[in-house]
């Protein structure tokens, strides 16, 4: 079972939602559709499901053209961002509905419904109506209904977005386990880099209706093909600074001198745009080869056990993700420490020129 999208486009009312998009999803693969809102994730998913027709291009399912085929006859299951269940059916009937329509014998329906309800931990709620469930349980019901169908293509459109933090964590971990056992093509749309990394699999990075990079999720994280990918596939977005490579090393912004070490050593002389992840910057010196950059605190947000410090200086505005809770006053002078070994270098066209080597075992984890 494979799904091939061949030069797909979708234009709605003069607005281009998807543009000339080609994609091949391998059988049994987990594919993460990744991109900011309005990148075209939902549009793409609706085309895959057959809910919308592409304005151009073809959709091939196992080698047959299914472009114009109705969603009813396709081998697909879908979970929406909103909790969509049949309000007048009990949880049991909700989950059983695709099986009943498939005409399965009663005993088998019963077995399958109970099995998938058990996987989603809602086996105690089968007699209830969706309105009597919490949001998390409603979404579990929707996921169970999608799983029970055992469709060849399982689409999940940001299924965890409307859940609170704790539930999301919990369900996310369970989903990863379920997908591992799944033999069908799973497509999972998300806007969160963390979620994409947790799920792993293959990532498809979308931006303004185009695919800007595909590849194994972890690899794309370490080797973002362009500045754009680096920005979206990083939370907070990749910190950027203009720089120049000359005979004396690397010059960042207005006069921050950094040695051209490691992967930066081979860079030809010229102008670049450098990127650094927020968690690779620090307000404390972590390594001997860290370079101090003076700046002032614009804002310090405490989130959980981390502090996001917005540091502004001459020619740059960075966000430093710092372990621990720190209270820093507005306008306070601070030194941000940057490590040249952790810098991404992008060319003038935004393409990746050099990426830091991937951390090996024994080195500090991401």
């Amino acid at each position: 079972m494979s799904l091939v999208l061949d030069r797909i486009s979708r234009v709605v009312g003069g607005e281009t939602h998807l543009q000339d998009l080609s994609l091949t999803l391998e059988p049994g693969s987990l594919n993460v559709l990744f991109g900011p809102t309005l990148a075209g994730k939902t549009s793409l998913m609706r085309l895959m499901a057959g809910l919308d027709r592409p304005s151009g291009g073809k959709v091939l399912w196992q080698g047959t053209d299914v472009t114009g085929r109705s969603v009813r006859t396709r081998d697909v299951a879908m979970v929406y961002q909103q909790f969509v269940n049949y309000p007048s059916f009990t949880v049991y009937d909700n989950i059983a509905s695709p099986l009943k329509l498939a005409g399965l014998p009663k005993a088998e329906i019963d077995r399958k419904v109970r099995e998938s309800a058990a996987i989603m931990h809602i086996d105690g709620l089968l007699g209830r109506l969706p309105a009597e469930l919490s949001g998390g349980q409603q979404q579990r019901t929707a996921i169970a209904r999608a799983l029970v169908k055992e469709a060849g293509l399982l689409l999940l459109d940001e299924p965890l977005v409307n859940l609170d933090y704790k539930l999301r964590e919990e369900l996310r971990a369970e989903m990863r386990e379920i997908f591992k056992r799944h033999r069908s093509i799973v497509v999972y749309a998300t806007t969160e880099p963390l979620e994409a990394l947790m799920l792993g699999g293959t990532i498809v990075v979308l931006h303004e209706g185009r695919v800007i990079q595909t590849g194994p999720t972890v690899e794309v994280y370490h080797q973002p093909a362009s500045l754009r990918v680096g920005q979206v596939f990083s939370d907070p977005p990749l910190n950027q600074v203009d720089g120049m490579v000359d005979g004396a090393g690397v010059l960042l912004a207005d006069g921050i001198r950094v040695p051209a070490v490691g992967h930066l050593a081979d860079l030809p002389h010229g102008r670049y745009r450098f990127g650094a992840r927020a968690n690779h910057l620090s307000v404390f010196r972590a390594h001997d080869d860290d370079i101090p950059v003076p700046g002032t605190v614009e804002l310090a947000e405490i989130s959980g056990s981390e502090t996001f410090i917005h540091v502004h200086g001459k020619g740059f505005a960075w966000v430093v993700q710092q372990e621990g809770v720190h209270s820093l006053g507005l306008g306070e002078t601070v030194t941000a420490w940057i490590n040249p070994r952790r810098l991404f270098a992008f060319g003038a066209d935004g393409r990746l020129v050099a990426a830091p080597p991937r951390p090996r075992l024994g080195m500090a984890a991401e």
């Binding site: 879908m78 049949y86 309000p87």
Partner: protein
């Protein structure tokens, strides 16, 4: 002394006055229906001096009277069923699909309510005469569709648009065909809307007199037309007329009871 207490009282006085003002005609009708004619014509009495149910007995036993009710109920029910069964698919289409001129057509439907029914009286009369439909229940039921179908489409569209489109899509993904989805999943979700729509169809068809009277003569004569029978050479039978009036209010009051929680939403055409 106590400003809040005074305000409380004032508000009550206002409410009570309003209530009396509203209910007085209905009370008067009720009182008249149980008074003998001599008392009605004889003088002014707030409470009936002698109570009689003879008027009601007359209406409920005389076929020329109760047939009026049966006729009215029959064409109103017919009309409600026709209006609903036509409006449900139409409202679904307006709520879920975009097609050329959809908005204009939707608005055009409502403009049918803007012309007075009298405008349509002549064409209706001639058309129904040609097809031999005069003095049948179906004639009145069809004529009332003129203003009930647009209303039903508008109310139902409002309720249907309140149901997320994703439910439809999920059903199609699950493999439901349209008829099965519509009957088993969609209709239960807009139950209240269907109830309110039925009520509005009932209400407008029940109170409409001009078309109903013109298109019928004997066999399908509505109760309102029957009520003109009380005018005879011997004068008006006021008591009988009042009793008939009271009985005309009853079905409406009964139906209103069932949809009382949704009427406001119905008046807003389902768009609250």
């Amino acid at each position: 002394m106590n400003p809040t207490g005074v305000g409380f009282k004032k508000r009550h006085i206002g409410l009570i006055a309003y209530f009396v003002f509203l209910l007085l005609p209905i009370y008067w009708l009720l009182a008249m229906s149980v008074k003998p004619n001599q008392e009605i014509l004889g003088g002014f009495s707030l409470f009936p001096q002698t109570i009689t149910f003879a008027n009601y007995v007359t209406i409920l036993t005389d076929p020329s009277w109760y047939n009026g009710y049966l006729n009215s109920i029959q064409y109103v029910a017919l009309n409600t069923v026709i209006s609903l069964s036509v409006a449900l698919p139409a409202a679904y289409a307006f709520s879920r699909y975009r097609f050329l001129g959809d908005k204009h057509m939707f608005f055009w439907l409502l403009t049918n309510r803007m012309a007075p029914p009298a405008v349509f009286l002549l064409p209706f009369f001639q058309l129904y005469s040609t097809f031999g439909l005069i003095d049948t229940h179906i004639a009145v039921a069809l004529a009332h569709c003129l203003f009930n179908v647009p209303l039903a489409v508008w109310i139902l569209e409002g309720f249907m648009s309140g149901v997320p489109r994703e439910i439809d899509e999920t059903a199609y993904i699950d493999g439901y065909g349209f008829p099965r989805f519509f009957l088993t999943i969609f209709l239960p979700l807009i139950r209240a809307g269907i109830g309110v729509t039925a009520f509005f169809c009932f209400m407008f068809s029940w109170v409409e007199l001009l078309l109903a009277r013109t298109l019928t003569s004997v066999d399908a004569k509505p109760i309102a037309a029957t009520m003109t029978r009380t005018v005879s050479a011997a004068g008006m039978d006021w008591g009988l007329l009042a009793a008939a009036g009271v009985l005309t209010i009853v079905p409406g009051a009964l139906v209103i009871w069932f949809v009382r929680n949704y009427i406001a939403k119905g008046f807003a055409l389902g768009r609250v």
